[in-house]
């Protein structure tokens, strides 16, 4: 493949993006399409805990919740994955054996990415060796801002190599630190061409995290990449998506930008911790006709 000039990524017009988002958020997603969308959303969640205070008990509880979202309601799907720090991967893999729920690990000196290549590699290897199905890496935002796109590209390629074919790599752009939509597009292109299986908005540690406009820019980058290569790259907005309504708007945006094939957890994920409960609350409401108290749904 000929060398791609990442300094010349397609331009993004922010006003135009916001206009498009306004069209999407004006859509009315009701009745059976709402129910279907909610179930889909549940199945796309990467149930996440990434705290310094995480304990083995907490990770265990999270893993149980991932495949027992709310046993009161029969027929619920599992979440797509559980997302933890590398040191909990072994435990999570054990807990989730046979459930179909994947284990994702953040790596590469998450969340800042401020470390050496060796340490990032070791971090990744630790996750992979312990049995992670997916690795969520962060890009080096400092290098990106300084214009060293080749460094960013090479680093992603190196981590993808360490992941191997069977471990899917999600590349976190940390769009809240990237600044403009032009730059989001540019970082998306770098990540995809360097070997990302998924591109992901945020670590969840920086505000703003995922937004509809940023995600639309990334979906359009995925679409352009698909036009050219026929390769389907996944998308994961993470952080800041805590309501069902917003989740449904994301799904509709995916449908209208990339079509129905992307509407599975193979190609779309929500990185979220509190979204699941709001979706459960809505599903219970769709079934019973009344909103229940939050206290009927387990926090973890």
């Amino acid at each position: 493949m000929k060398q791609i000039d990442f300094s010349n990524s397609p331009r993004i017009d922010q006003v135009g993006i916001e206009d498009r988002i306004a069209r999407i958020t004006a859509r009315s997603i009701k009745k059976e399409s709402k129910m279907q969308g909610l179930l889909m959303a549940l199945n796309m969640i990467d149930l996440t805990t990434l705290e310094g205070a995480d304990t083995e008990e907490k990770v265990k509880q999270l893993c149980f919740k991932a495949h027992h979202l709310h046993d009161d309601i029969p027929g619920l799907p599992t979440t797509a994955a559980v997302c933890v720090y590398p040191n909990f991967v072994k435990l999570a893999v054990n807990e989730l054996k046979g459930t179909g729920v994947k284990v994702a690990a953040v790596a590469t000196a998450f969340p800042s990415g401020q470390s050496s290549a060796e340490i990032k590699l070791l971090d990744t290897k630790m996750a992979v060796d312990n049995g992670a199905d997916e690795v969520d890496m962060v890009i080096s935002r400092g290098k990106f801002h300084s214009g060293d796109y080749n460094f960013v590209f090479d680093e992603i390629a190196m981590i993808k190599e360490a992941c191997g074919k069977n471990v899917r790599l999600k590349v976190i752009l940390e769009t809240g630190e990237i600044g403009t939509l032009d730059k989001v597009r540019q970082a998306s292109d770098i990540a995809m061409y360097a070997g990302a299986d998924f591109i992901k908005t945020s670590t969840g540690k920086i505000k703003p995290a995922a937004t509809l406009p940023v995600t639309l820019v990334m979906l359009e980058a995925i679409r352009d990449y698909y036009y050219k290569t026929g390769i389907m790259i996944g998308m994961k907005p993470a952080g800041g998506i805590s309501t069902s309504k917003l989740a449904l708007q994301y799904l509709l945006m995916v449908k209208e930008t990339l079509g129905g094939k992307w509407l599975t957890n193979e190609y779309f994920r929500f990185g979220a911790s509190s979204l699941a409960n709001d979706v459960l609350l809505q599903i219970a409401k769709q079934q019973s006709g009344i909103y229940q108290s939050n206290d009927y749904f387990s926090k973890v």
Binding site: R11, G16, L251
Partner: protein
């Protein structure tokens, strides 16, 4: 072009119908003329049916004004002008106009639903564009009513008298607002005729005007077809004709008022060039193309109906456009998720169908997304033509439907020449990431409005109007006031 991979837009997840409720109001069976502050039966004795173009059902019977009806409307307007309206201060006039604006806002849902029922446009548009903009126009001109001296310093502005106004069917309420608000602010009284296919919201506006307590005869609202319009145009006691509609009818009106002291403004047809440069934000440009041509089913005089794409990005722009067209919902205008509603009338659908045939026969390549259309009513899928020549009729004539003619260009000079090579000159669009290119283009385009990196955006403060056969005079902004004033 290199092979590209196609996106499959079929999905198991589809939006359930989300129709806007119609139970919060009741249409009357019959709408009479609104003359001298009252609803009165027409002297013509004639009523015509007005239908819902989405299902061809009759919505109501509407009075048809004849010459005698127009004469009483003009007399009422003249009397109101002489005895009340011209004697009121600008501040008092402004109060009435504000009141109209506020009542439109209060009845916004009703206005939106009736506009959609009667005209076929998607509720998303009548709710988010037509009605809020109509209210905004009244608010905006209400503010000017007591500031005319400041708008035109040292020019001693005076009202003209009775304004005769004729509006089209594509934006019935909004066009009424564009016409009535500046006329009242400038101190004129009004006789306005709505279109024969979409008369209903004008009569809702008449109810609003009653509710606002406007002095009798200041605004008179009538309905009927071209003949009724001609009675307004030819009435000797009308001081000004404001017309929005086709260029052909505009020419007839200009002939009719030649040699009379009547002032006039004409807002006529268009065939806007929408120009996409290779350095534009292409995905957003595609959105602009869609808004430019498919907004209101293309029933927009300033629609971006001629698309010029720089040759280097032609393939990718067309591919993205086709993909975007696949996510447009065509169908029930009352559904909140509908993007493209019904064609306004059978006659208009025939015109559009005729042009689509012409395009095919001229050798252009047509594309329409596959989507089901309702069995009743008047419908047209969004349509684009590639391999179009500048000399093709679909590239030269106004179609007034969701039909886009796409050509390519290589240089700035070439595209300016092509863009200006039209009898019209109402609007244009330029898409580029480069600011200097925008200013270079806009200064050379012969069009009344040139949008940069957007399309079909309207604001009451911004003047609107055409070059060449798109008409003359401006509506909106201070310019819009000037069209209803004379100066010493």
């Amino acid at each position: 072009m290199k092979k590209t991979h196609k996106i499959d837009f079929s999905s198991d997840w589809n939006l359930a119908p989300a129709p806007e409720s119609t139970t919060h109001f009741k249409l009357k069976d019959t709408y009479d003329l609104f003359i001298n502050g009252k609803f009165v039966a027409p002297k013509s004795g004639k009523y015509f049916d007005t239908i819902n173009p989405a299902n061809e059902k009759v919505l109501a019977k509407v009075a048809e004004a004849n010459e005698a009806d127009i004469d009483s409307a003009v007399k009422a307007a003249r009397k109101a002008y002489d005895t009340v309206w011209s004697k009121l201060s600008g501040k008092e006039r402004g109060k009435y106009i504000y009141r109209i604006a506020r009542i439109i806002q209060e009845r916004a849902r009703e206005f939106a639903v009736v506009e959609t029922l009667n005209g076929g446009k998607a509720i998303r548009e009548s709710r988010d564009v037509d009605v809020p903009l109509a209210a905004a126009h009244f608010f905006y001109y209400a503010g000017w009513a007591d500031k005319l001296e400041y708008a035109f310093p040292n020019r001693k502005p005076k009202a003209l008298g009775v304004a005769g106004q004729i509006i089209p069917w594509n934006f019935p309420l909004l066009m009424a607002a564009w016409k009535i608000a500046p006329a009242l602010a400038a101190g004129n009284t009004v006789v306005i005729k709505s279109s024969e296919t979409t008369p209903l919201t004008a009569y809702l506006l008449a109810e609003v005007i009653q509710e606002a307590g406007l002095p009798a005869g200041v605004v008179n609202i009538v309905s009927g077809a071209g003949l009724t319009g001609s009675f307004i145009v030819n009435h000797p006691d009308v001081d000004k004709i404001a017309f929005t509609g086709s260029t052909a009818v505009g020419k007839i009106i200009m002939k009719a008022i030649a040699g009379t002291p009547k002032k006039s403004t004409m807002e006529l047809g268009g065939k806007a060039a929408n120009i996409i440069f290779e350095d534009a934000a292409l995905d957003q440009a595609v959105e602009g193309i869609v808004n430019g041509i498919f907004f209101n089913q293309g029933h927009v005089c300033c629609a971006g109906s001629r698309l010029y794409v720089q040759e280097s990005v032609f393939d990718v722009v067309v591919q993205k456009l086709k993909d975007r067209m696949n996510s447009l919902n065509v169908g029930d205008p009352l559904d909140k998720n509908t993007d493209i509603g019904a064609i306004n009338s059978k006659k208009q659908l025939e015109t559009i169908a005729k042009y689509i045939e012409i395009g095919k026969n001229e050798g252009a390549e047509m594309y329409q997304p596959s989507c089901d259309l309702p069995s009743k009513g008047f419908w047209c899928r969004p349509t684009i033509f590639t391999k179009v020549s500048q000399s093709n009729r679909i590239a030269q004539e106004e179609i007034f439907g969701p039909v886009l003619a796409i050509q390519t260009f290589r240089t700035v000079d070439e595209v300016i020449e092509k863009a200006n090579n039209t009898p019209y000159g109402l609007s244009a669009g330029v898409w580029t990431d480069k600011g200097s290119k925008i200013f270079n283009m806009t200064s050379q385009m012969r069009a009344g409005v040139v949008w940069a990196n957007t399309f079909n955006k309207f604001d009451p403060a911004s003047p609107f109007g055409g070059y060449k056969e798109s008409g003359f005079g401006r509506e909106g902004g201070v310019h819009g006031l000037e069209a209803y004033l004379k100066f010493e």
